[in-house]
């Protein structure tokens, strides 16, 4: 019955939360099946960013996760407070929505009998039909890994237009951004000083990448051009000519000298870096291809498109291996996990994780209700999703737990509507997170050193069931 209840609540719970709600930091419901609880008011935090994801009763840092330690014995002060804040609303809502008065069935999550599997509860209720359905083991949420929250550390302004793309050099000395002001700028990573401006594109620069195998920088733009810059001379040395419309993204193959670009002409093209020859034209998408990623293992090319599909390509044959149609809205971002054989794709409806090589579906990371422009992940398993409305969510990759939500203020002089994240990247040491924003700035985040698992506990309940979303 509880499950049924929860399923019924689902749509209510996951209604898109407005900004005001976010700022109020009032937990919507204690029975939030995702644990995306807002921070209670007592959490110290800066004004410019917003850390969310507190759990009312975190397990102690040293306590091992067993059946009996799941129950919280000594709730921390903050947990108790947040519980107090959280409870009445949830109770009221539960009462209001309860179809049949079932005394004591809806217990608050701290109750000890919550530890037993949900199926058992249903069996008690005697609903045979339901029990058959629920007999299989209810999926539970494993404990997410704790990550320190990230806080805004530096804002670099210098571009005269939207900063559309960002890439960090393999040597970790500098990073490069491309902007709607038609320039590519190279910045010192440590100091944030401008080192160089490259001009040559005649429209917005939509993608930059620095080669690890050569001193080359590749850039693509809405002027249909793909350029190869020699960083020893800071000059364009090659053009890759062939796209029929704006080029939206590019990637380099890690082991072969091959460049892949994707374009609004609904194709992705594979270029031989040296000869400028177009090796393959990957056609099959029916709308603009927004993003492309490359890897050395099969499948070597992954594209996400505005036709809501993700395609995994066979690089040798230039043909589609798999078409993933699970997204409902355009896929603007794809990111590959640095260590695992998995990848994630971002779309306004969901972030989805997939497994290579066949693209079998793993899980949904829902909660970021905005147009997701960019995804990035570090080897620690922190997935960052940046959205068009300026919000940035940080997730634990494996469990899909959203441990932080950030909405940085726009730089002075900009409108509120000009907050938006177009691209983000971790630097090579993964201690800095760089975001390219619509307020013409580059924002640099770093991990909060003072944060510990006690100050920023994980809001995790083992019995939380993930609501299925297709």
């Amino acid at each position: 019955m509880a499950i049924k209840l929860r399923n019924e609540y689902g749509p209510v719970l996951h209604m898109p939360t407005s900004k005001e709600n976010l700022k109020e930091k009032v937990p919507q419901s204690a029975s939030d099946s995702y644990g995306h609880k807002q921070y209670p008011a007592n959490q110290g935090q800066e004004v410019e960013y917003l850390v969310t994801g507190t759990h009312p009763y975190p397990p102690g840092p040293g306590v091992a996760l067993t059946a009996d330690t799941k129950i919280q014995r000594m709730p921390s002060e903050s947990a108790a407070q947040s519980l107090a804040v959280a409870l009445p609303a949830s109770q009221a809502r539960a009462d209001a929505n309860r179809p049949v008065p079932t005394g004591g069935e809806y217990r608050h999550p701290g109750a000890p009998d919550r530890a037993q599997p949900a199926g058992a509860v249903v069996m008690e209720g005697g609903n045979a039909k339901n029990s058959a359905l629920m007999a299989k083991k209810a999926p539970t949420m494993p404990k997410p890994q704790w990550h320190p929250p990230w806080k805004l550390y530096r804002v670099i302004s210098g571009h005269l237009g939207w900063v559309r793309c960002i890439a960090v050099e393999p040597g970790n000395q500098w990073f490069v951004t491309g902007s709607a002001d038609r320039t590519i700028k190279i910045w010192d990573l440590a100091s944030g000083k401008l080192k160089l401006s490259l001009t040559g594109h005649i429209s917005t620069v939509r993608g930059v990448i620095v080669s690890t195998r050569s001193p080359y920088l590749f850039s693509c733009g809405e002027d249909k051009q793909v350029k190869c810059w020699d960083l020893e001379y800071n000059k364009v040395i090659r053009h890759y000519h062939g796209h029929l419309s704006a080029v939206y993204g590019l990637d380099l193959h890690p082991t072969i000298d091959v460049l892949v670009t994707c374009s609004r002409d609904s194709t992705a093209r594979i270029w031989d870096v040296r000869t400028k020859a177009s090796v393959h034209t990957l056609s099959g998408h029916t709308n603009a291809v927004a993003t492309v990623r490359c890897q050395a293992a099969e499948p070597q090319i992954i594209t996400g498109s505005h036709d809501t599909t993700i395609r995994l390509w066979d690089l040798v044959a230039g043909k589609t291996r798999v078409t993933l149609t699970n997204h409902k809205k355009s896929v603007r971002a794809v990111v590959l996990h640095p260590r695992h054989y998995t990848f994630a794709s971002g779309s306004p409806d969901n972030i989805k994780q997939w497994k290579f090589p066949d693209g079998s579906f793993i899980q949904n990371l829902s909660g970021h209700n905005a147009i997701i422009n960019t995804l990035t992940v570090n080897s620690d398993g922190v997935l960052v999703s940046g959205a068009d409305n300026g919000t940035m969510h940080l997730w634990d990759w494996r469990t899909g737990y959203n441990f932080q939500r950030v909405h940085a203020a726009v730089q002075p002089g900009s409108l509120d509507s000009e907050s938006g994240i177009f691209a983000c990247a971790f630097d090579q040491s993964e201690s800095r997170l760089l975001t390219a924003e619509a307020d013409k700035t580059i924002k640099v985040y770093k991990e909060d050193d003072t944060a510990t698992e006690e100050t920023h506990p994980v809001s995790w309940k083992p019995e939380i069931i993930k609501r299925k979303r297709f």
Partner: protein, 618 residues
């Protein structure tokens, strides 16, 4: 029919009859439970009007030749209808593989998700799950190598194809084939039993253009079948979402919704600019006040000072006058002989005083000058005393005026070309010729010159002089006025300027000639007055050629200098070759109706001569 009725029933049943019997029996026994669904052709004799249509109508046999319709026994001869239905496939457990329809037309190695289980999230795996691990280095290296080779091949082909010329392909080594002909004998193969054939690949010209046209556009093949959609239908848009997506139209201050320009007053009224009261800082007023006061004070001060000065000047003047008066008094006294003690001063002292006075004045002048414009003064002074060589060395401009004629440089070098010649390349000015063709006087003399022999009688021998003299200046103008009665009236006018405004000519005529010939003059006068009074008369001409003179022309003449215009208008009409007085110049004619004397209309010819000599023929 008849025969069977006559014959007795057979005692022995034939084979087919037996079969029929048996069948009938079995049918009868079966009829209780089931109805036979078997269709058979009707037996012979009952096939009239029967047409076999279905497959069963033929039984197992062939067509019925006696029925003249198209028949397809066993569907033979009928076009094969292709069905796109798929054969049912089952999996290992015997369940139907419904995803076959999604796989149709796709390659075997393609992964296609179509099941519900593909939608369901997986269990969250451990980080070190073997399923999650990337392929090891070796596998990746292998994949990379394979891919690299494949791509290299493709690239090299593409690059080679893009090259205009490529090196000739290397030929395969020659093959030797031993050949044994089937026809053996002395007559064949020049008696040889076997032959060895050397097979060589033909050399290909690397420069040869492509033999086949390959620039044809091939229509794209059908796209690969779409992948199954693996998500639930998108949720219905809520009202809130719809409202969120409603982007308000841009409202212009300048154009209304229909695109018409909003008038300025409406626009100003709409933006509420006039409604706000403008708050001006009171300091502006304060500043203005202060400025005003300061200005007034300054003016007062200036006025005061001026007054004081004026008073001082007045006093000075009075003093001076007093002095003068005193001096005059003294002079008077001296003249009168009254000696004063002042006289004893000697002339020398006065001279010295004068010199002193002069010096002082000079000094004062210098001082004044230096005070007025010290820098200018000093410079002037300096340069005044400089030697000329110094001036030259310093480069001080010497504004010495020379008597030489100075030419505009642009006038030179006109033979260079377009840029220099024709008004410095200006297109607007029509200077096709940079200078006149054989300019000067000789040309005009050679061309526009009446031949001497022809006009000698008219001009006399002094043609040259006539041409050279100024035409109208100071030369008396003479007219011979011929009446129709061959009376000649000479008229001379001192001023040639009055030739064309005939009005004045007339007046002068009246003045000068009054006493000369009363009759003719009065006549002329009357003619002219008449002419002015009734301009329409002059038009009413008998001569059709003259009558063709446009009326409006005369009307125009009436308005401004009418005689002149009128007369000119006649100029082309009259061209009398018989008239000896015609001398290549303009011949004017008018027809005048006179009141006095001459009843018939008279003709008036004014022959203007180049030398200011004219005749009027009446």
């Amino acid at each position: 029919m008849a025969l069977t009725s006559f014959l007795p029933a057979p005692t022995q049943l034939s084979q087919d009859q037996l079969e029929a019997e048996e069948k009938a029996r079995s049918q009868r026994s079966r009829q209780t439970s089931l109805v036979s669904s078997r269709r058979e052709p009707p037996p012979y004799g009952y096939r009239k009007g029967w047409i076999p249509r279905l497959l069963e109508d033929f039984g197992d046999g062939g067509a019925f030749p006696e029925i003249h319709v198209a028949q397809y026994p066993l569907d033979m001869g009928r076009k094969k209808k292709m069905s796109n239905a798929l054969a049912i496939q089952v999996d290992a457990e015997g369940k139907i593989k419904y995803d076959a329809i999604a796989r149709q037309g796709q390659s075997k190695d393609k992964v296609i998700y179509s099941k519900y289980t593909d939608l369901v999230p997986k269990e969250v795996m451990n980080a070190d799950d073997p399923d999650l691990q990337r392929p090891d280095e070796e596998a990746i290296k292998e994949i990379t190598e394979k891919t690299r080779v494949a791509l290299e091949k493709s690239v090299s082909q593409k690059v080679a194809a893009a090259m205009p010329v490529r090196a000739a392909d290397k030929l395969a080594p020659a093959q030797y084939i031993r050949y044994t002909p089937s026809q053996q004998g002395v007559a064949f193969n020049s008696g040889a039993k076997q032959r060895v054939i050397r097979m060589v690949e033909m050399q290909k010209d690397p420069m040869e253009p492509p033999r086949f046209k390959i620039n044809k556009k091939i229509p794209r093949g059908p796209p690969s079948p779409p992948a199954p959609v693996m998500h639930s239908p998108s949720r219905k848009m809520t009202v809130k979402e719809q409202q969120e997506w409603k982007i308000p139209p841009c409202i212009s201050n300048w154009k209304n919704a229909k695109g018409y320009t909003i008038p300025l007053d409406k626009r100003l009224a709409a933006d509420g600019r006039g409604l706000q009261t403008v708050h001006i800082n009171e300091n502006f007023a304060k500043l203005a006040e202060a400025l005003y006061i300061a200005d007034r004070k300054a003016r007062e001060a200036v006025e005061m000072r001026a007054q004081v000065e004026r008073k001082m000047a007045q006093k000075e003047k009075e003093k001076h006058e007093e002095k003068l008066r005193e001096m005059a008094q003294k002079a008077r006294e001296r003249r009168a002989g009254i000696k004063t003690h002042v006289e004893k001063e000697d002339g020398e002292a006065r001279e010295r005083d004068e010199i002193r006075h002069d010096r002082r004045k000079e000094r004062q002048h210098d001082r004044n000058l230096s005070r007025a414009a010290p820098d200018k003064r000093s410079k002037l002074q300096r340069n005044e005393n400089r030697d000329i060589s110094e001036v030259i060395a310093l480069g001080v401009p010497n504004p010495r005026t020379s008597n030489e004629v100075q030419y505009d440089q642009r006038l030179f070098n006109q033979s260079k070309g377009m840029d220099s010649g024709f008004g410095c390349g200006e297109d607007e000015i029509y200077n096709v010729y940079d200078q006149a063709w054989r300019g000067g006087k000789d040309m005009a003399q050679n061309i526009y010159r009446p031949s001497k022999n022809l006009d000698k009688d008219m001009y006399g021998d002094d043609l040259e002089a006539r041409i050279k003299t100024n035409r109208y200046q100071g030369r008396p103008l003479s007219f011979n006025i011929y009446t129709s009665e061959n009376k000649v009236v000479h008229s001379h006018f001192s001023s040639s300027l009055d030739l064309f405004p005939i009005r004045s000519f007339l007046v002068q005529t009246v003045d000068k000639e009054a006493e000369k010939d009363q009759f003719s003059l009065r006549r002329i006068l009357s003619v002219w007055t008449n002419f002015w009074k009734k301009p329409s008369n002059t038009v009413a001409l008998k001569d059709p050629q003259i009558a063709a003179v446009p009326r409006n022309m005369s009307m125009k003449a009436k308005r401004e200098g009418r005689s002149r215009y009128f007369v000119q208008s006649e100029r082309t009409v009259v061209d009398n070759p018989n008239d000896a007085s015609h001398m290549g110049n303009t011949l004017y004619m008018a027809r005048i109706k006179t009141k006095s004397g001459c009843q018939s209309p008279a003709l008036l010819f004014i022959t203007g001569e180049g030398g200011g000599y004219g005749k009027i023929l009446l």
